[in-house]
């Protein structure tokens, strides 16, 4: 599903990712951990072609990400749902409209959008909050909104960049339960986190990045 082949990404002379080799299989749940600046966000940005690698090859399914022509980038991004670290919710749109955004992009009809968004609001436990604006919701609720938006168009892969950052432990576990459910439904999930308690508790594959290099890749059952 995802393959990094000797990928190097440098910002100036500083490597953000250094000779990264890895494969993530279909329907896997993977934790990406490591200190701040280890290269976790760069890893995600490379996957959605928000950045180009300095060296190496990246594959998502059969797509060679680095060689993808500009007009095919939307096609790649429709395969990948992203929970951004800074959420990237549109503050002048309601929760319903934010979740509907990927569905509008892929050209769903208003009735299909309504049905799907209601379904997602129920799934993330926010039924009835669709008419509210982001400023009216708590941090945990906003995280759920971004997860709902990320999976709205049924992507094959979900990238979650620190989805439990700044959340209390109870809310964090709620988010993890949701991500596990999404994974169980067949979506490949890659989650970047600092929260080692969660990583330890869930017996999933853990990849540790440090200064751009993979220092550990543990598959646990």
């Amino acid at each position: 599903m995802i393959k990094f082949d000797k990928v190097v990404k440098k910002f100036g002379s500083t490597p953000a990712l250094d000779n990264v080799d890895l494969e993530i299989n279909d329907k896997e749940f993977v934790f990406l951990t490591g200190p701040t600046g280890a290269g976790k966000t760069t890893f995600f940005r490379l996957l959605i072609r928000d950045l180009l690698p300095t060296k190496g090859k990246i594959f998502v399914g059969d797509l060679d990400v680095a060689k993808l022509p500009s007009h095919k980038i939307p096609h790649l991004r429709k395969k990948i749902g992203v929970v951004f670290q800074d959420l990237k919710l549109l503050l002048d749109r309601t929760i319903f409209e934010n979740i509907a955004l990927p569905l509008e992009i892929i050209g769903k009809t208003p009735s299909e959008i309504k049905r799907r968004v209601d379904e997602l609001l129920f799934l993330v436990g926010l039924s009835g909050l669709g008419v509210r604006f982001p400023r009216e919701l708590s941090g945990g609720e906003l995280q759920r909104v971004t997860i709902a938006r990320a999976i709205a168009a049924d992507p094959q892969i979900l990238l979650a960049d620190e989805p439990t950052g700044n959340l209390d432990i109870g809310t964090s576990w709620g988010i993890m339960k949701l991500l596990s459910e999404i994974n169980e439904r067949g979506t490949t999930v890659v989650m970047a986190t600092h929260n080692m308690e969660i990583v330890a508790a869930l017996k999933k594959r853990k990849i540790v990045l440090d200064k751009g290099k993979i220092t550990k890749d543990e598959k646990r059952i």
Binding site: I48, D50, H71, I73, P74, H75, L76, R77, K78, V82, F84, K88, L89, L90, D92, R93, E97, L101, P102, E104, I105, I106, R149, A153
Partner: protein, 290 residues
């Protein structure tokens, strides 16, 4: 496309003050441009009329025959610079003389048609061509004398030329200012929504999916401002024009025909759409590339 219309409407509805500011700024610019367009149109007609007023007059010798006069007329026509001709026969000249001196019986008794010369009054397409026409007349053997006010004609020619240059320069300046105002307004609206553009881009929206709502918004402002300005100028222009009714008599039909307004408003709408399209495209493209 429907979702683009919805997004456009949402942009306007969710930031009504910015939308109002955009509409007011664009309407003010359009209003100035449209009023100027109408003034420009009127002044062009007035200048053309003024140009046709000065005449050069050839007075013919008594022995001049009609065929000689016709030959001279053809020669002047062939120059391509004459606008109109008016032949005044000896009898017509006497009638004019009588009319002008009807209160002086002594003057009327002394003059007969025989002593008044027949004449040909010629007006030029361009006032600057009058001396050339006068020269052709002077060279004719049937012409006794050629009369035209050279100083007045020269000054008028300079005035008309100067006015044309100034109004054309102002028209270009206003047109450029309209395009830049539209570009600025649309760029500002795009800037306000730059986060939305970035998010849509990251969520997989194609270029045109992002473009359309902004282009439609710009087009809406352009169409609304041009139409509103057209309506305002439709009611304001006759009020202003009434002061100049006497000057424009025989030159321009007042009130200005509706079709002229429709042309001006139509051009304004097209200009608004074009400027909004270019402005929106440039501005959105900048953020997509970023």
């Amino acid at each position: 496309m429907k979702s683009a219309f919805n997004a456009t409407w949402r942009h306007i509805r969710r930031s009504p003050y910015q939308a109002a500011a955009a509409i007011i700024t664009m309407t003010s610019t359009f209003l100035v441009v449209m009023m100027f367009a109408l003034i420009f149109l009127g002044s062009t007609l007035l200048l053309s009329h003024l140009e046709s007023l000065p005449q050069v007059t050839a007075f013919f010798r008594d022995e001049a025959k009609q065929e000689n006069i016709d030959a001279l007329k053809q020669q002047l026509e062939a120059s391509g610079k004459a606008a109109s001709f008016k032949f005044v026969s000896k009898d017509e000249a006497l009638n004019i003389y009588r009319e002008q001196n009807k209160n002086d019986k002594l003057l009327l008794e002394l003059v007969t048609a025989e002593i008044l010369p027949a004449s040909l009054e010629v007006s030029a397409l361009k006032v600057g061509d009058l001396p050339e026409l006068a020269e052709i007349m002077k060279q004719s053997s049937i012409v006794e004398d050629v009369v035209f006010a050279r100083d007045v004609v020269d000054k008028l020619a300079k005035f008309i030329e100067g006015t044309r240059v100034i109004t054309t320069a102002l028209a270009i300046l206003l047109f450029v200012s309209l395009v830049f105002t539209t570009l600025f307004i649309i760029s500002l609206r795009v800037f306000v929504h730059k986060d939305e553009i970035e998010t849509m881009r990251l969520l997989g929206a194609g270029r045109w999916k992002i473009f359309w709502p902004f282009l439609l918004e710009g087009i809406f402002y352009g169409v609304f401002s041009a139409t509103f300005s057209g309506i305002v100028s439709f009611f304001v222009t006759p009020l202003v024009a009434s002061f100049y009714q006497d000057i424009f008599l025989g030159v321009l039909t007042l009130p200005i025909p509706v079709v002229v307004y429709l042309i001006v408003v139509g051009s304004g709408i097209l200009l608004g759409i074009l400027a909004s399209f270019i402005g929106g495209y440039i501005a959105v493209n900048r953020y997509i590339k970023a």
